[in-house]
């Protein structure tokens, strides 16, 4: 691979790692809430979380471009902060988090729901308060869901294209990721380079999914 493509690989991995961390920190409490709430807001929130599954990535990318750019409705806010997030690495992280949220929140919600009330009730009678129960019972019992969520979130971020193209553009070392690199190689009719990067992504995605399904089988 060319030095440019290696740089794109680095950017991709950094982006996926950062997004996955943010996704786990935000997605875990969200999934916990969704798994246990009786609020009437729940279906609406679930629908919002699932939206990226059905929307064309360009729709999400378009609105994010407006929201994160200085020319959009939040322009004055960004101006005060010293610049918008459009076409920056941070902007890409924000976009990836939203775009990959269902891939993290849904398996986690399923894992939390599968635990049921009984172990948590047992822990309560054993002297564990709500926060204690979450960390010492819910999280350990949902660990496979957590692993699935992290892997899918990571892999899905690596594989995104449309959102990245709109929000990030293709700034080397900042927002030029592997999927963009392939697109550019194909545009330039450099099929050999496109092949190398595409094959790498293909192999990576397969390996990730194989690991996820392998984990699901084990007790």
């Amino acid at each position: 691979m060319s030095p440019d493509d290696l740089q794109a690989l680095g950017t991709t991995l950094r982006l996926a790692l950062a997004s996955t961390l943010v996704l786990l920190v935000l997605g875990t409490p969200l999934a916990w809430w969704l798994a246990r709430t009786r609020s009437r807001l729940r279906p609406a929130v679930e629908a919002l979380v699932a939206l990226p599954l059905v929307l064309p990535p360009t729709v999400l990318g378009f609105y994010l471009l407006l929201l994160l750019g200085e020319g959009g409705p939040l322009g004055p806010f960004w101006a005060r902060l010293g610049g918008g997030l459009a076409f920056t690495f941070e902007g890409l992280v924000v976009a990836s988090v939203l775009y990959s949220l269902p891939f993290v929140a849904q398996p986690l919600q399923g894992a939390f729901e599968a635990i049921g009330e009984r172990p948590l009730e047992a822990a309560a009678t054993l002297g564990a308060g709500p926060v204690d129960r979450f960390f010492t019972v819910a999280l350990p019992l949902a660990r496979r869901g957590l692993l699935t969520a992290a892997t899918l979130g990571f892999a899905h971020t690596v594989g995104e294209f449309g959102v990245v193209l709109l929000v990030g553009g293709s700034i080397p070392g900042e927002t030029r990721v592997l999927s963009i690199a392939i697109y550019e190689h194909v545009e330039a009719l450099d099929y050999a380079s496109a092949h190398r990067v595409a094959a790498l992504l293909l192999a990576f995605s397969f390996a990730v999914l194989a690991v996820v399904y392998g984990l699901r089988r084990r007790r």
Binding site: R118, P119, E121, A122, A123, A124, T125, L126, G127, A128, G129, D132, T136, V137, P140, L141, R143, R219
Partner: protein
């Protein structure tokens, strides 16, 4: 005597209403007994705090819940050992890990080692819950509850789903264990035999209501409760071993003012035990039966006659100069013998079962 467990709770859910008031003594087992679907589990969960009912719950000096005063202590600060009908062990920990989980959080319960010994699971400590059999799970959950039971131990159908040998072994162990426990025990069961074996007090629940509560022998000797209409209705007497007749193989028991003889050797002289005399095993005669194979024939006075609205039989409560006995006789016999309260009769006891040493 003060009443260390004091419960007064109400809850409505769907078509089910729970309205329960009872007290239980500071030590020993109180059986919460009643037919399936009576609301026993819901009542226990409400006492433990896993179900939100309105009212008041106090254990000894601690008031766990008092809605009139706006007071509620969360479950995790109550120090209650709770074994659910299907015990929920923490599957990501070993058995020892489960016991330590409680020990780290609750001060004043039992040490894990002691709890494991009492529950008979010292050999299982390193195992993972999913490798345990049903009986082993029950015992592991019991050990864990002993660690947590600083103020109260609650057992919901601890024998449900166990095969006969496992059930008998656990029953025997529990009988020994609860006597030494310094906290009150609530035992939910729909098997009267289990209650008779383990409990000193009884709370009878039907359709979400506590119909009666008190010392178990008193409740079982009453002819007016639904308890008396059960096939296995009968009196339970607290007795003391008076003598052992080696030549004839009979043990003589003294219960209140009366003397009973049972086949086989039971306990040592002076030892206290509990015997059960089923109502269907007691028949009545107006004259002293001259020659009979029945060992125990007692003079008695008819205290009460309770009609059963459906069956062909009636229940007769008998005063035997101390504890009461129940006899189930047919309506025809009642009429023929002219049995009415105050009449002097002879109670012929066909069988006496020693239930608890």
């Amino acid at each position: 005597m003060s009443a260390p467990l004091d419960v007064s709770l109400a809850l409505a859910r769907g078509g089910f209403r729970l309205e329960a008031r009872f007290t239980a003594p500071a030590a020993g087992v109180t059986a919460v007994f009643g037919p399936s679907g009576a609301g026993k589990t819901t009542l226990l969960r409400a006492i433990v705090g896993l179900e939100r009912a309105r009212g008041r719950v106090a254990v000894g000096e601690e008031v766990w819940q008092d809605d009139a005063a706006g007071r509620i202590i969360p479950v995790h600060r109550r120090g209650v050992g709770y074994v659910a009908q299907e015990p929920a062990l923490l599957e990501h920990l070993t058995v020892a890990g489960n016991l330590r989980y409680a020990a780290r959080r609750i001060r004043g319960g039992r040490a894990p080692e002691e709890a494991a010994r009492l529950a008979g699971i010292t050999g299982l400590l390193r195992r993972r819950p999913h490798t345990l059999s049903g009986g082993e799970r029950r015992r592991a959950a019991l050990a864990r509850a002993l660690v947590a039971a600083r103020t109260l131990l609650v057992l919901d159908e601890p024998f449900a789903g166990l095969d006969a040998p496992a059930r008998e072994a656990l029953l025997a162990d529990l009988a020994g264990l609860v006597r030494a426990l310094g906290v009150p025990v609530l035992l939910v069961t729909h098997e009267l035999g289990e209650a008779v074996r383990l409990a000193s007090h009884l709370v009878y629940v039907e359709r979400g209501r506590v119909l009666a509560g008190g010392p178990l022998p008193d409740l079982l000797a009453r002819a007016d409760l639904p308890l008396a209409r059960r096939e296995d209705a009968g009196a339970v007497l607290e007795a003391e071993v008076a003598a052992w007749d080696e030549a004839e193989g009979l043990t003589a028991l003294r219960a209140g003012g009366l003397m009973l003889h049972v086949a086989g050797r039971h306990g040592a002289p002076g030892e206290r035990l509990r015997v059960r005399v089923l109502a269907r095993d007691v028949s009545l005669a107006l004259d002293p039966p001259g020659r009979t194979s029945i060992l125990n024939v007692l003079p008695a006075t008819v205290a009460e006659v309770h009609e059963d609205p459906v069956g062909p039989c009636v229940l007769v409560a008998l005063d035997c100069g101390g504890p009461r006995l129940l006899a189930r006789i047919t309506r025809r016999s009642l009429r023929r013998l002219g049995i009415v309260p105050g009449l002097r009769v002879h109670a012929q006891i066909k069988a006496v079962a020693v239930v608890a040493p």
